[in-house]
């Protein structure tokens, strides 16, 4: 009888281990979950405006030049071609997000980061960019330039 009392009760031991194990797991989870959620940045409501009036006058954009403008929180690029057309594209390179610029010497849109080239329709023509630039619609209303997302 006395010896039996010293024997560990397998059922009890198993139960205690199970209790400890699940408690430990629950504890770890209750720490990891809030910390992990904390690390994920909250989504900030992005400006959904589809139309922007530029602080640039049509006459200020000389032929064969380009300018960067703000389109919501992202940059856009406004170009006057040598023939006098105004065109606007997203200035975010489709390769790795750099901001493109207009190269007067090539009459092309160019990204300095990895040497990507786009033509004046925003089409990727050389280098690593995988897709054309997003195209915007340009309307000139008197002395104002209004740029909007294409439908």
């Amino acid at each position: 009888m006395t010896e039996h009392a010293l024997e560990p009760d397998e059922n009890r031991r198993g139960f205690i281990n199970w209790l400890l194990g699940t408690s430990a797991a629950a504890f770890v989870l209750s720490v990891v979950y809030p910390v992990a959620s904390y690390l994920v940045p909250p989504t900030v409501g992005e400006s959904t405006a589809g139309t922007v009036t530029l602080p640039i006058k049509p006459d200020d954009v000389k032929p064969n030049t380009g300018q960067i403008f703000k389109f919501g929180s992202r940059p856009g690029i406004l170009i006057r071609t040598s023939s006098g057309d105004l065109r606007a594209f997203s200035a975010v390179c489709t390769h790795l997000n750099c901001t493109v610029q207009y190269r007067s010497d090539l009459s092309q849109i160019w990204c300095a980061c990895h040497n990507g080239h786009y033509d004046l329709n925003g089409k990727n023509v050389a280098g690593p960019p995988p897709r054309p630039l997003d195209t915007f619609v340009v309307n000139v209303r008197g002395t104002q330039i209004v740029v909007s997302k294409s439908a």
């Binding site: 960067i68 992202r74 390769h95 790795l96 901001t99 300095a112 990727n124």
Partner: protein, 365 residues
């Protein structure tokens, strides 16, 4: 005890009885370094450690003036460089020592690879070393953004976009890294926290493991030297090897001071999200071989986007390097094998070639 008192005096005895200095002394006296024709490579790890200590010290000093927000970061670094006495020196040393540390780390890595010091039982030493390399590159990447200048801004845009391009978890990881969808002040604050708290804590722990393992297994003797009939000579770590180490460290310090004085760290122009990326934009030199590879890749390879293919390629390359101790069966079994030597040399040549091309290629073509 009596002998110890005679040799070291009463203060030493007092400390010995309380914290066990005698055991440390025995440990230090026991450690010996093999002497053979490749012994020179044993100094690279210690050199990297020395530069890391410099980074921690100068980093702490920079913290006293730096302000981690998009509105103030650039101005605070400008203030540090122009107004604070020796501010330029501290920042320049931090910047140069970072570069030298990455350099000695790479030399350390490739010397260990070519001398096959990763063979059993030192696999975990290699793994922890590779993890430390990853952390060092993380230090470089996050620290580069902190001055919030134009170059740093676009380097971070590209770097985080590369993360986002990883199939599957990429978008989520990119957002997590940037603290949002774009590189903004939120990214700066996040990188600051990573650079001054998360990475140092992790690197400290891993460095402890790495040094403990080096201590535990002793220096690896290259297979070529081991194969000879007689075991190589050895020299005591204290003081013979340590004093030689110190010569290297003092030399490194002198080089650092000269570089910092003659080529102080630049600051450039403040970051502006609504300016085009400047021509001639380049990453830090240790990312150059990857940057240049990305430039050469066509927009599509076998139906996937070129940059995704490139990123997957480098990911697999890194994984391969990490697993070398497991993949190199011949060396693990003690048989001579040339394959991994040639692979190591090929990797070195690839990195050197692409880095050179990166610096020679015209920026505007």
């Amino acid at each position: 005890m009596e002998a110890g008192e005679q040799r070291h005096g009463r203060l030493w005895m007092w400390l010995d009885q309380r914290i066990g200095l005698g055991e440390l002394e025995k440990l230090a006296q026991k450690k010996r370094i093999p002497v053979h024709r490749h012994s020179i490579w044993y100094y690279l790890g210690g050199m990297t450690l020395f530069l890391f200590i410099i980074q921690v010290s100068t980093g702490i000093l920079l913290l006293l003036y730096y302000r981690p927000s998009a509105e103030e970061a650039f101005e605070s670094v400008q203030f540090l460089m122009t107004e604070v006495q020796f501010g330029w020196l501290i920042r320049s040393i931090h910047s140069w020592a970072a570069n030298l540390m990455i350099f000695t780390l790479f030399v350390h890595l490739f010397s260990v690879l070519l001398l096959k010091a990763y063979r059993p039982p030192r696999e975990v030493t290699w793994f922890s070393g590779m993890a430390l390399l990853g952390l060092a590159l993380g230090f470089g990447f996050t620290g580069y953004l902190l001055p919030w200048n134009e170059l740093a801004y676009f380097a971070t845009k590209v770097g985080t976009e590369i993360t986002s391009a990883v199939p599957g978890i990429g978008r989520f990881a990119g957002r997590l890294l940037r603290g949002g969808d774009e590189v903004t002040g939120a990214t700066l604050t996040r990188f600051y926290g990573i650079h001054v708290a998360i990475l140092p804590a992790t690197a400290g722990a891993l460095l402890g493991l790495h040094l403990y393992l080096v201590q535990r297994h002793g220096m690896s003797v290259p297979p070529g030297v081991e194969a000879k009939d007689t075991a190589p000579r050895t020299m005591p770590f204290v003081p013979n090897f340590l004093l030689r180490d110190a010569v290297g460290w003092l030399t490194a310090l002198a080089i650092l001071a000269a570089l910092a004085a003659f080529f102080p760290a630049e600051l450039g122009k403040k970051a502006d999200p609504f300016l085009s990326a400047p021509a001639g934009i380049k990453p830090e030199w240790y990312f150059m071989f990857m940057f240049q590879t990305l430039k050469y890749l066509p927009s599509h390879i076998l139906g996937i986007e070129g940059e995704v293919a490139g990123i997957l390629g480098f990911g697999l390359g890194g994984l391969f390097l990490l697993l070398v101790p497991i993949l190199d069966r011949r060396t693990a079994q003690g048989r001579p094998g040339r394959l991994f030597t040639w692979i190591g040399i090929a990797i070195i040549l690839y990195m050197l070639l692409l880095t050179a091309l990166g610096y020679m290629a015209s920026a505007t073509q």
